[in-house]
Each structure stands twice: as C-alpha cells, then as structure tokens.
C-alpha cells in the first residue's frame, strides 16, 4: 500500500486557522490500512482541531467525510453534496488523492493532512516498511523476490557494498542489508550462480527519469 503519516498537529492547525468551515476528507484505502487517514483518523483529527481552535476562542465547523478512494473521480462526486459553504478542504488521503480533490474543486484551497511516505508492506501490526519505488521495470524474479532499488540504501544492482555488517546496512543496525537478504534467498532457492551475472546499468526512464509517467490502456480508455 501507499503509506503515510499524519502531519504534526501544529502544522495542520496553522492550515485551518484562517477558515470558518472546512471539509475533512478521509480515504478508505491505503491510509486506512496504515492508520493515517481513514474514518477513525478523520474523527480524531476533527476533534483535535476543534479543541485546539476553541482555546483561541475560535469555533470552527468541521464536516467529516470518508470516501472509498480519492484517486478515482467517480468517488469524488460524493463530496459535491457537502461542498456548499465550505471554504477549505483538508484531505487525509495520500498525495494522489489530495491532488484529485484539488483538481475537482478548483475554487477551494486544499490542504494535505498527511505526509505520504512510501509504497510498502506491513511487517507486523503497526509497522510498515518500504518495499517498492515504482521503477517501472521489475526485476524481482532475478533477486529472489527482494528489491535492491527500494531496499538497498545505495540502490546497488550488483551489491553488497563494503559496508554490509552482520546482515545490516552501514547506515543503521535497524536497516537490513538488502543484498544479504537477496544472497540468503538465492541460497535457499539454489540459485546462487545468479549472483555473478552482472546486472547492467539501469534504464531509469521507466522510473520517472523520462518525466511524469502515465499508463494508457487502449482497450479501456475511451
């Protein structure tokens, strides 16, 4: 999923302070799963914002609504019924959702409530870790299912570097050395001769080096 973390409260209070009536929009997908911007988080944030502003003598009207997704225009239409009189929108979705809200409601200032972090997976309850950087040319079949671009701090395609220490990256004992993981997996799979095949220099165009990316499905697009 796309992971995110709620922004510090003082930053969010600063965003909404100038307004009288705001729409706080959550998302039922990724940000719900990582407990950053789903229905529950919308409720908590609205309560926190109200109580914070009340102390300054300001009574703010916060409408709470959680959409199925914010990255599909169809779901956005639900907001139309609630947009009347709203003078600003705060979205708890990832950066994709925030931008779609802004695109749909051009005359309302839109603020992000979370910092979108990375594409990752759940390691255990409450812990998510980066797994994919969307390089656009997946080579996981060659590396035992472990991504050297997302999980190696130097994105080495022919690692490990000389700093790998007891299975951990040189930058921190909390970060696994991706190439140790890859090597261990290749051993388990009996694919160790793969290791010495040199991976050639990567074409970064598919990774965004060629500009902002788009997918057009001829069979689906009108």
């Amino acid at each position: 999923m796309i992971t995110a973390e709620r922004k510090p409260l003082d930053e969010l209070i600063g965003y909404v302070r100038p307004y009288e009536r705001i729409l706080l929009v959550g998302c039922n997908e990724c940000v719900t799963v990582c407990a950053a911007g789903g229905r529950k988080e919308v409720g908590l944030l609205a309560s926190a914002l109200r109580m914070s502003l009340l102390q300054g003598g300001k009574s703010i009207d916060i409408k709470e609504i959680t959409l199925e997704r914010q990255c599909d225009p169809e779901y956005m239409e639900e907001l139309v019924a609630h947009i009347g009189g709203v003078d600003a929108i705060m979205s708890m979705a990832c950066g994709c959702g925030v931008q779609e809200v802004a695109r749909r409601f051009k005359d309302k200032p839109v603020f992000p409530a979370v910092n979108t972090k990375f594409m990752g997976a759940s390691e255990r309850q409450g812990v998510w870790a980066e797994r994919c950087q969307g390089c656009g040319d997946c080579l996981l079949g060659l590396t035992g299912g472990i991504c050297p671009i997302a999980r190696c701090s130097k994105q080495l395609m022919n690692g490990p570097c000389g700093g790998s220490t007891k299975g951990k990256c040189e930058i921190s004992p909390d970060v696994d050395c991706a190439w140790q993981l890859i090597w261990d997996r290749l051993k388990e799979l009996g694919m160790t001769d793969r290791y010495e095949e040199i991976m050639p220099a990567k074409d970064w165009r598919t990774a965004g080096g060629g500009g902002p990316r788009k997918i057009i499905r001829e069979d689906l697009a009108e």
């Binding site: 701090s153 130097k154 994105q155 080495l156 395609m157 022919n158 690692g159 490990p160 570097c161 000389g162 700093g163 790998s164 220490t165 007891k166 299975g167 040189e170 930058i171 921190s172 050395c177 190439w179 140790q180 090597w183 290791y195 010495e196 040199i198 991976m199 050639p200 220099a201 990567k202 970064w204």
Partner: protein, 307 residues
C-alpha cells in the same frame, strides 16, 4: 599495455607497487594538496585522491588530481557513484584524461548519512560494477555508455575497491570475480589488520585465478593510538580489527603508541609480501601522510622503480 599509467608499468614489470592516498582540503586551499603531494614524491608510484570521502564535501577529486599531476605525481582519480550520474561521470573522465590523469578508482561511496550533508539526494545512477564496465567500454571500444563514439577515448587504468572484511564473507570472492568480469585492472583492499582473514580471502581469490586477472594491492593503515584502534574496531562498518591489535596498542605507553602503530604496519607489510597474489600495497595514512615515507622505507620498498 592498456594505458600510459605509471602504476600499470610498475605492476606489469613484476615489481611490488606502492600507492598512497591524500584527502583534499575542506576549502579552496590548493597549497594543502601540494604539501601532501610533496611528502609522497618519490615514495609511492601513485597517489589516490579521495572523492568527498565519508560523504563530507571536500575539494573535488578532479581538481585536486590536477594539482598533483602538475606537481609531478601520478594521481589516482577516485570517483563515487553517489554524487554523479553517468553523464557527469563520463564528462569528468574525459576531462581528467585531457589533463593527463590516466588512473582511476570506481567506487559506490559512503552513504550521506555519515557526512555533513545527510539531507542530500544520492545519485547512484549506476553502481561500481556497472561503472567499471562503462570505463572499460570507453577505453577499449571508444564508446560512451549511451553508444555514441568518443572522439579520442580516455585510456584509463581502471581500479576498484575490495573489502575482504565486510559481510557476508562467503560473497567477498564472488564480488571480486564480478569486478574482474566487468573489466577491472587493479584492486585496492580495505586496510588489513586481520591477516588470517585476509589470507583466507586470498585463498579463495587464488583458487579462481583472480589474482592473475587483476593486480591486488593490500590496504594498510597505521594506528596512531589505542583510541583509534578501538574506534576503528567498533565504529567503522566493514573494518576488522582483531583484539590482539587493540591489546597490543593498549599495553604500549601512550607516548610510544604512534611508534608501535608504525611497527605493526611494517610487520603487516612484511607478512603480506609473502602472500601469493599480493601485487603491492596501498598505504592510507589518514591525516598522517608524513609517516608514509618512513613506512615505505622500513618495509624495504624504496627506492621506487623508475620505468
């Protein structure tokens, strides 16, 4: 001979090569580089110039190498993939070659986490092995990485680093094999304190004949104090300092520790001379360059061959 590199000449002649290193200054101070160079003249065959080492900004390796070249030394241009994409690297390589620099070291580079700009974006457009491939193709095929012809290709003697002491040990010979397959000409190892482990690595290297396909220079760094020994043992990733070394330094009275560090250094060189496959020594006396002449002399490596 693939290049005009003095280092290549010394190595191919069968002599033990000696290289050393100097770190450029943290400011626009050409005189610092020139002074370090003066200390090493006639003492070593080539001098590595580090490239933003430990991710701390210093005068660029390229600029510092030019000063050394002008002073009559043979610089080894170190270049890390952390700070430049393949365009900038190739541009710097043909630029450096145009200044007469013909020996270089292809490295990944320490992570910015360790340096004075942890907030910087790392590049890593290519890794060190792809880097070796790229420089080899520039030299031997006369082509840029993108495929176009180079007008007067740079004939670089290509080096890389090897660390027999990093984990996992079982991969360290295979990694050298990859660099050799990519086209590396010479290797400088991480500094050696654990001679047993180094010899074990060399066994693996020899078993695959890799010592015949590239020249391996053993890395040496003198200890200044027991504090330095402990620091290197505990705080530097990829460094293996056996307890005996630390204890030996600890037993020595403080004012005699630098001398003992040099003694250990010279003993290490003598022992490594006997290891088949060691083609020379790379002496990294970080911020202690003035001791290099003494080390080289006591290790019986002077005078340097004039070829």
């Amino acid at each position: 001979m693939k290049t005009d590199s003095i280092l290549e000449k010394v190595l191919t002649s069968g002599n033990l090569a000696v290289t050393s290193e100097c770190g450029p200054p943290r400011g626009a101070r050409p005189e610092v580089i020139k002074e370090k160079g003066e200390l090493l003249k006639g003492i070593v065959d080539s001098v590595n110039v580090t490239d933003n080492q430990t991710a701390m900004v210093r005068m660029s390796s390229f600029a510092a190498s030019i000063f050394l070249k002008q002073a009559g030394l043979n610089p080894v241009l170190q270049m890390v993939t952390r700070d430049r994409n393949r365009l900038a690297m190739q541009a710097d390589i043909i630029g450096a070659y145009s200044h007469g620099i013909n020996t270089m070291l292809c490295l990944s580079g320490d992570h910015p986490h360790f340096g004075d700009h942890p907030m910087a974006a790392s590049v890593h457009d290519i890794d060190s092995i792809q880097f070796i491939q790229m420089v080899k193709a520039m030299r031997d095929e006369g082509k840029f990485q993108g495929g176009a012809d180079i007008d007067n290709p740079p004939r670089m003697f290509i080096g890389a680093a090897a660390n027999p002491f990093a984990d996992p040990f079982e991969l360290r010979v295979a990694r050298l094999a990859k660099k050799v397959a990519a086209g590396v000409d010479f290797i400088q190892t991480q500094c050696i304190y654990n001679l047993d482990k180094f010899e074990l690595w060399m066994e693996g290297v020899r078993a695959r004949g890799l010592h015949k396909k590239c020249y391996i220079l053993a890395g040496i760094t003198p200890m200044k104090s027991v504090g330095m020994a402990r620091y290197m043992k505990n705080k530097v990733p990829g460094m293996d300092v056996p307890d005996e070394i630390v204890e030996r330094m600890a037993r020595t009275p403080k004012e005699k520790q630098p001398e003992e560090g040099i003694n250990i250094c010279v003993e290490t060189i003598e022992r490594l001379k006997k290891v088949e496959g060691v083609a020379g020594f790379h002496i990294m006396a970080i911020e202690w360059e003035k001791k290099v002449p003494e080390i080289v002399e006591r290790a019986g490596l002077l005078p340097r061959p004039q070829l």
